[in-house]
């Protein structure tokens, strides 16, 4: 199994200065946008994106061309890049921001040309100090060269980009929460309907919200073609995708591959295997995704195959847990994450995640009660009735229901690990 480098080719081949404008241009950067601005039309760009069949790389996997097509007509429209990457296990946008910021900017200019947008924002999580510095410098360089601002590349197009830092809230990765945050409000998700960003987004204006990786793919698609892109990968999961591999693995890292091979092959070849141990369980797509078992490594890495197994490819974060992993502590870490990151708007999530954290805490520390397994499942059921995947919602956004994923996995496949920590039946004589 080999990598297919589209988005990470330039940074791999030019490690010394891939983030600089000079290096990016020397290696063919900004050619794509120049061609589009000179001889393309917005309709051409939209058609290429539709032909590519690319699906959003943030987690939900919505077809990008369809999303762009939904954008309502208005004099004021906005593009917002979601660089809030905070899903535990995920560090793919970090490398794109840090090592190739101009690729993102070029993708943004093309996107704004296609959607007739003249103001765009890059929302980067606050903890990404170094990536944010690199992006800010890249934006400044682009302004200096006339690639941003008025009449860019000598065309009639105007575009301003503002780099905006988040401030440590995972929930702002949810697109409507991100828009609230960008408006200077608490990062609380909005109700959909009516607040679909494509209709009522930033400042109530039609807004495209796209992930860093999605928009970074645009220059390649436009300098080749949508059809070339869709010929990579498999149907329904076209093109390449950057997977972040971590956990008990010999060779962790970001790998850009075509979707369609199995997790096992991925782990054994690019990941160089698990450290002398068997895999007990793994997370196929970030903290929100239900776990798969070590005997499910033949599952194919596509959006649909993982969904068929009752989980999701999500943000592309693959976390391996070997046979020595304490899965109760792993589940507790995941649940604590959601409890900490709950915005507090919806009762099932705000109260439920805290309950789950407390119950797992006492089980892990040997103070569990015999009734705790039923209680855990009952709380989960109150957050997401029926405990199905994809989860049923009792809340405005999927954060709360996602918190149940690891507990349901633990109970379904590894129940004995919890039971062994609970007291045995007490006989009173």
């Amino acid at each position: 199994m080999k990598e297919t480098l589209l988005l990470t080719k330039h940074m791999r081949e030019n490690p010394e200065d891939s983030h600089s404008l000079k290096s990016y241009e020397k290696n063919g950067g900004y050619k794509s946008v120049k061609k589009v601005l000179k001889s393309g039309t917005p309709e051409d760009v939209l058609q290429e994106i539709k032909d590519s069949n690319i699906r959003g790389r943030g987690g939900a996997g919505f077809p990008t061309g369809v999303k762009w097509g939904f954008l309502a007509e208005d004099e004021e429209r906005y593009l917002v890049i979601n660089g809030d990457e905070s899903e535990p296990g995920t560090f793919k946008d970090r490398i794109l921001l840090e090592r190739d910021p101009h690729q993102l900017i070029e993708g943004m200019i093309i996107t704004c040309f296609a959607a007739n947008i003249s103001k765009a924002f890059i929302y980067i999580r606050g903890e990404y100090a170094k990536p944010a510095r690199r992006v800010q410098s890249a934006v400044e360089q682009a302004y200096e060269k006339g690639y941003l601002g008025e009449n860019i590349f000598g065309s009639s197009m105007n575009l301003d980009i503002v780099v905006h830092l988040g401030a440590g809230a995972y929930i702002c990765g949810e697109e409507t929460a991100l828009l609230n945050s960008l408006e200077g409000r608490r990062g609380e998700p909005r109700l959909k309907p009516p607040f679909f960003p494509a209709v009522k987004g930033l400042y109530n204006k039609p807004t495209l919200v796209n992930n860093v990786e999605t928009i970074s793919s645009v220059p390649w698609i436009m300098s080749n073609s949508g059809k070339d892109y869709s010929s990579l990968g498999v149907e329904g999961s076209t093109g390449t995708r950057i997977f972040s591999l971590s956990g008990h693995i010999n060779n962790p890292g970001n790998y850009e591959i075509e979707m369609g091979s199995s997790f096992g092959e991925f782990v054994d070849t690019l990941g160089k295997g698990v450290k002398n141990k068997a895999i007990k369980a793994y997370i196929p797509g970030g903290a929100s995704a239900p776990w798969l078992r070590g005997d499910q490594l033949d599952v194919k890495m596509t959006i649909d195959d993982v969904a068929n197994e009752g989980s999701m490819l999500g943000s592309g974060a693959v976390v391996m847990m070997d046979e020595d992993t304490n899965l109760v502590l792993a589940a507790k870490s995941l649940v604590s994450f959601f409890a900490h990151e709950s915005c507090g708007q919806c009762t099932p999530c705000r109260e439920g995640t805290t309950w789950l954290e407390n119950i797992l805490e006492r089980i892990a520390s040997g103070r569990g009660r015999m009734s705790d397994i039923d209680l855990l499942l009952d709380v989960c059921d109150n957050i997401s009735p029926g405990l199905t995947w994809p989860p049923k919602m009792t809340t405005i956004c999927p954060l709360g229901p996602s918190a149940t994923a690891s507990i349901v996995s633990l109970m379904k496949d590894f129940r004995s690990e919890v039971e062994i920590l609970l007291p045995k039946k007490v006989v009173i004589s």
Binding site: P88, R125, A129, K130, V163, L165, G184
Partner: protein
């Protein structure tokens, strides 16, 4: 007027960047934090005037986000990650060693205003777990011993600029990905390193 002219100028420039004033609230809170190490009451009043919303609205936003500090922060903010990839890579031992060395519990600052310690959720360094951030500069592939070395070094050197590449070189191990060429840019305060807030400098 509690903010100096220069800071007010900077604030006005930031407000200009956005179609609506209130969008500048987040960046202005960072400017406030750069001044005092936390969001002071004086700054809340100042920002409320600048943005045109009430003080309570400013406070309501400031208290929502974990990176806006409600109490003074030390010169170095130590943020140890405890999310899943770090958790299964023994981050709890790194957390214990940092806690023991500094004598601090989560979200505490020492008497000298030198270290603030916190355990945090995922910082996107999962491939290099366990990881820590010093003033939001990431160090990956840490061990409990190296974490103590890092704290000792900060105590002795008291660097004015914290540079991720330098810390990684001295105290780090396995990385999430190849960081490529070393970069001398770093942060000058426990606020994210960003030109806009003047918290970024290049180490010569």
């Amino acid at each position: 007027m509690s903010w100096e002219t220069e800071r007010l100028e900077k604030a006005k420039q930031i407000i200009e960047m956005y179609p609506q004033k209130r969008s500048a609230l987040g960046p202005l809170l960072y400017l406030a934090q750069d001044k005092d190490g936390y969001i002071s009451n004086e700054s809340i009043v100042e920002i409320s005037d600048l943005v045109g919303i009430t003080e309570v609205q400013v406070q309501s936003v400031a208290s929502f986000y974990s990176m806006y500090k409600q109490e003074p922060t030390g010169k170095y903010l130590l943020s140890v990650c405890k999310s899943i990839s770090c958790e299964i890579s023994n981050s709890s031992e790194v957390i214990n060693s940092v806690k023991n060395f500094t004598g601090l519990s989560s979200n505490e600052t020492d008497n000298e205003n030198f270290f603030t310690y916190e355990s945090v959720e995922c910082i996107g360094a999962c491939g290099g777990a366990p990881a820590i951030q010093v003033n939001y500069e990431t160090v990956e592939g840490l061990t409990p011993e190296k974490a103590i070395d890092l704290c000792k070094w900060l105590k002795e050197e008291k660097p004015e600029i914290v540079v991720a590449d330098e810390l990684q070189d001295k105290f780090g191990g396995v990385k999430s990905f190849d960081w490529a060429i070393a970069d001398n840019n770093g942060t000058t305060s426990p606020v994210p390193g960003f030109q806009t807030y003047d918290t970024t400098k290049e180490k010569k």
